[in-house]
């Protein structure tokens, strides 16, 4: 495969096909060089076929690619695979690449010595490599040894990452962890009878003993310590080893992947790893703090690039189709129904979600059902972000010099370093966000799910192609970036949100702005209100925002902010609902408010909003 990859000549590539084998759907994206620039041409989708009864991932891939063939007239499929060299303008491709999260993606178990130190570092490394972390084992995780052994036998991961100890430090605990793993002897999820890969990234002084304990029963790989000293987290060697083993051991045992691996000259990448690569590129190229989210059918992946630090988390069972009922279970019905502008019949809502779970590829046909799915999406984003913040925090176990303020503020050592006031952009991808009929629906889901503060740009993946571009960027970064900027990243607009609360209806902030046509607008926002100022993509306005004395837009409570606000397909969203966002407990009041917000953003068809309003007794 390396030979094939090294012989690729990006400058000669004109026709590129990329696929993503998702948990529910396989998605093909077709790219071409048109007038000297790379552009997205069209998409094809089909149900994924990695599990029973088909058990061959290539069937779903071929079905998705066949749709591209139908739409373009370009022949891509041969009798048994892909036409991997271009024959003429209408036949074959110069490059085929793919990502995969099918069949549950890469499922890992991680182990470390101290839960909040090496175990947490190991968890971050596995997540950064695109894995779903099934469990985190630590000496101090509160479970008895036999409970850990039972759990390991039950889980059947694809791979285990073992960390523990700083280089040269005590080795007893990491050896104890290895002994527990050997005793449990967990079996690999795929491929009966093959050795489960274990990556050791702990104290280098324990390598010999680790080898003695684990090498006879597992496919052991030893890499540099993830925490060589307490102050440093060195996750790259572990991450690289995970990627290699993912291809060599895990993918080669998944149904149909052996064939799929031969269709592409470069390694199949875990979907979240490819998605994360694009969010990282976005943040680095613009030198901004970004929160990205991939809201999928089975999982919610949250990425943050904050002051240069990249963290990815996956909430394995928060998703919009296959895992939709786990959002219901985790969030509670009340938290979902609070986003509905109509009277929620508990039995009906539960049944709608269950029916989506058992038929995950179906799509809403009515506005009611669409609104229900958007309500679930807000909660999946909220819960996914809460999970993310637990890992997006500084290294622990480090000696710090503490000021008097730190001593009084104990939280500063345990809470996330993400300050929403300093997040410059929130970007979303995944079926529901990318395919929302109106971009304002995505905007509202992102705002209500993440609760941005101050000025935050909002963006989304146009038709879900970030994973495709992420894997493409490993071969042809220029093509990936051109398509990303022109066809993938949809600029939704800018959200201006105040932090803090004040009396309902009292003035929250004043906005004065000069519009692109030179006209001047002045807007007084009352607390609890949302307003949209239409402003096209790639346009900006110079604005002055003056919050009331209790509220903050980034310069401290009551302080004025001057800024350029960028437009987008929705425009500038003025959000004076305050943070934390409080919805009225009383159903009638809450629904009225939701309807006002939906109307302000023109988020749903007027006829539907009028119907909901009439149900409330309004006009």
């Amino acid at each position: 495969m390396e030979d094939k990859a090294s012989s690729l000549k990006p400058e000669q590539m004109r026709v590129i096909l990329a696929t993503d084998c998702g948990s529910t759907t396989s998605k093909a994206r077709f790219f071409k060089k048109i007038n000297n620039e790379y552009r997205f041409v069209c998409a094809g989708e089909a149900p994924t076929t990695v599990e029973a009864p088909y058990e061959d991932v290539t069937l779903g891939v071929r079905n998705a690619v066949r749709e591209v063939e139908e739409l373009t007239g370009h022949r891509l499929l041969s009798e048994s695979g892909m036409i991997d060299s271009r024959i003429d303008e209408k036949t074959g491709v110069d490059l085929y690449v793919t990502t995969s999260s099918a069949g549950g993606g890469l499922q890992m178990m991680v182990a470390g010595v101290v839960k909040t130190m090496t175990a947490e570092s190991a968890e971050r490394a596995a997540l950064g490599a695109g894995a779903i972390v099934m469990d985190v084992i630590a000496v101090n995780d509160g479970r008895r040894l036999h409970e850990k052994i039972d759990m390991m036998r039950h889980l059947r991961p694809d791979m285990i990452l073992v960390a523990g100890g700083t280089d040269g430090g005590d080795i007893e605990h990491v050896i104890q962890t290895a002994e527990v793993i050997r005793t449990a002897e967990p079996k690999a999820r795929l491929g009966i009878g093959y050795e489960l890969p274990v990556v050791y990234a702990g104290n280098k002084r324990a390598r010999k003993q680790i080898e003695e304990i684990l090498s006879s029963k597992f496919a052991l790989t030893i890499v540099d310590n993830i925490r060589p000293v307490l102050e440093i987290e060195n996750s790259e060697p572990a991450r690289e080893a995970i990627h290699e083993l993912f291809m060599e051991h895990v993918m080669s045992h998944a149904p149909g992947y052996n064939r799929l691996m031969h269709w592409t000259p470069i390694p199949i990448m875990p979907t979240p790893a490819a998605e994360g690569r694009m969010f990282r590129t976005l943040a680095e190229r613009r030198n901004i703090n970004v929160i990205g989210v991939g809201l999928g059918g089975a999982t919610t992946n949250v990425y943050s690039v904050y002051d240069g630090k990249f963290v990815r988390t996956v909430s394995a069972n928060l998703g919009m189709s296959y895992s939709i009922c786990n959002v219901l279970r985790s969030a509670g019905l009340q938290n979902i129904t609070r986003w509905l502008p109509f009277e929620a019949d508990e039995v009906k809502i539960r049944n709608v979600l269950r029916n989506k779970m058992i038929r995950p590829t179906t799509i809403p046909r009515t506005i009611d059902e669409l609104v229900i799915e958007h309500a679930v999406a807000r909660e999946a984003l909220r819960l996914g972000f809460e999970h993310h913040k637990q890992l997006a925090r500084g290294l622990r176990g480090i000696q710090r010099s503490r000021t008097i303020a730190d001593i009084f503020d104990q939280k500063s050592f345990v809470e996330t370093y993400i300050d929403m006031m300093h997040i410059h952009m929130i970007a979303g991808t995944g079926g529901l966000l990318s395919h929302a009929p109106r971009r304002a629906q995505t905007a509202l889901a992102l705002i209500d799910g993440f609760l941005p503060e101050g000025l935050t740009k909002l963006a989304q993946d146009s038709v879900f192609m970030m994973p495709h571009l992420g894997v493409l960027s490993t071969v042809h970064p220029q093509a990936a970036l051109e398509i990303f900027e022109k066809d993938c990243l949809v600029r939704i607009g800018t959200c201006v949100a105040v932090k803090g609360t004040t009396g309902e209806g009292s003035e929250a902030f004043k906005l004065t702005a000069i519009m692109p046509d030179g006209s001047r607008i002045e807007k007084s926002m009352n607390f609890g209100e949302v307003v949209r100022i239409p402003l096209d993509e790639r346009m900006s306005i110079s604005a002055e925002i003056e919050p009331s004395k209790e509220l903050d837009v980034g310069m401290g409570p009551g302080n004025k902010l001057k800024a350029n606000l960028e437009g987008g397909v929705v425009g500038v969203i003025l959000d004076a609902r305050g943070r934390p966002l409080a919805l009225p407990d009383e159903s009638h009041e809450r629904r009225k408010k939701l309807l006002r917000w939906f109307s302000a953003l023109d988020a749903y068809p007027q006829t539907s909003l009028q119907r909901y309003s009439q149900d409330l007794g309004g006009s």
Partner: protein, 377 residues
């Protein structure tokens, strides 16, 4: 999009089914190719490691890890009984002796001079796999299991809970739109698989479980009733391991849903016959659906197309029978009239690929292709 469709549930009066019986870890296969098996024939067995107890000698005896060997009275591989001494340290002049005993009966599996711990494994736990359906062993999978082939009627449900079992099919309703209430569950349904209509309530499920009913097959169930019956809320649809006293198979979905006429009528024809059922459901990429298999030995040699090798052979075509699987019109059946290539905007304003369906009630509707399933004839 021709091949991008949701495969329908199988409702077949007669087909050849291959059932794979596989151990979770390698073991011994007890049958040979060509051999005849019954529902409860054990076809393969293995044992999984028993529970594990760890004794920390370092703490118990106050010794260093590398001294563990000096004080042990047992070695790796030795049998031990619960409370038997496994290590002892004599104190000053033989007095103040400290001992470590085994917390369980088992075998010394591991002694670590690095951590000073002794691992004791309890006896292995045997696992047996039964044939599940009567038939002939088509293939032996060495060390793993076998494939049983049988001729049978096959009906798939959409969702289920509870594992493999078998029992005679009995009817508790007269039509597919009747509800399966607790007063319809009779004492003589014990050990049977009971077919209901459009909805089963939690009281009926509880009564059936207490009477020893093997399974319930019904059109719909309210989510709340299912959660009440299970005692918890299902998060992700991976089921089949619930220990609830019976197996439940839902054929249509959540809510009150008439069982499809086709399913109901086929089950009616099979009333009184022994059926193998399994509620195991896994919905992700590709799906495992719950199933009702009613073996028909007479038809054994009739067809030889293997059901398990099913692949989507052809896509949607005009004239095909489909069922709508999303509101509105959930459950309605019809025939495809047209498959427009271009995207069309539906009520939600989403541009999607659609099809036109002539419904059985005479209406013609336009539906997203993702919202129908093909009825396999």
């Amino acid at each position: 999009m021709a091949l991008a469709y949701t495969p329908g549930l199988k409702v077949k009066a007669s087909t050849v089914i291959q059932v794979e019986r596989r151990l979770p870890i390698p073991g011994e296969v007890l049958v040979k190719e060509g051999e005849r098996v019954e529902f409860d024939t054990v076809v393969a067995r293995t044992s999984v490691p028993g529970g594990v107890e760890i004794v920390k000698l370092v703490h118990l005896l106050g010794i260093d890890p590398d001294d563990v060997g000096r004080y042990l009275t047992k070695k790796v591989g030795d049998d031990v009984k619960k409370d038997e001494i496994i290590a002892e340290k004599k104190g000053f002049l033989g007095m103040f002796k400290s001992v470590a005993t085994s917390p369980t009966t088992g075998v010394i599996q591991q002694i670590s001079e690095l951590t000073g711990q002794v691992t004791i494994s309890e006896p292995p736990v045997p696992i047996e796999i039964k044939a599940y359906v009567p038939g002939r062993i088509e293939k032996v999978l060495p060390n793993e299991g076998c494939i049983v082939q049988t001729s049978a009627a096959l009906i798939q449900g959409i969702f289920g809970v509870g594992g493999e079992t078998h029992g005679k099919l009995a009817f508790a309703v007269d039509s597919p739109d009747e509800m399966l209430t607790s007063d319809r569950i009779r004492d003589d349904y014990a050990r049977k698989v009971v077919v209901g209509g459009s909805l089963v309530k939690v009281e009926a499920l509880r009564k059936a479980a207490s009477l020893g009913v093997k399974g319930i097959v019904v059109g719909g169930i309210e989510d709340k009733d299912l959660s009440d019956f299970l005692g918890y809320e299902i998060g992700v649809a991976i089921t089949g391991h619930e220990n609830i006293g019976l197996t439940l198979i839902v054929t249509e979905g959540f809510g009150t849903m008439c069982m499809s006429e086709r399913t109901f009528n086929l089950l009616r024809r099979l009333e009184g016959k022994e059926a193998a059922i399994n509620g195991a459901t896994q919905i992700r990429a590709g799906v495992i659906r719950p199933e009702i298999i009613v073996p028909q030995p007479d038809a054994e040699r009739a067809v030889h197309s293997a059901e398990s090798s099913v692949v989507p052979q052809k896509g949607m075509e005009p004239g095909m029978a489909v069922r709508i699987i999303r509101e509105p019109d959930f459950g309605r059946m019809g025939k495809i009239v047209r498959l427009p290539v271009d995207l069309q905007v539906v009520e939600t304003e989403s541009p999607v690929r659609v099809l036109e369906v002539d419904l059985e009630d005479g209406r013609k509707v336009v539906v997203p292709r993702a919202d129908v399933e093909i009825i396999e004839e």
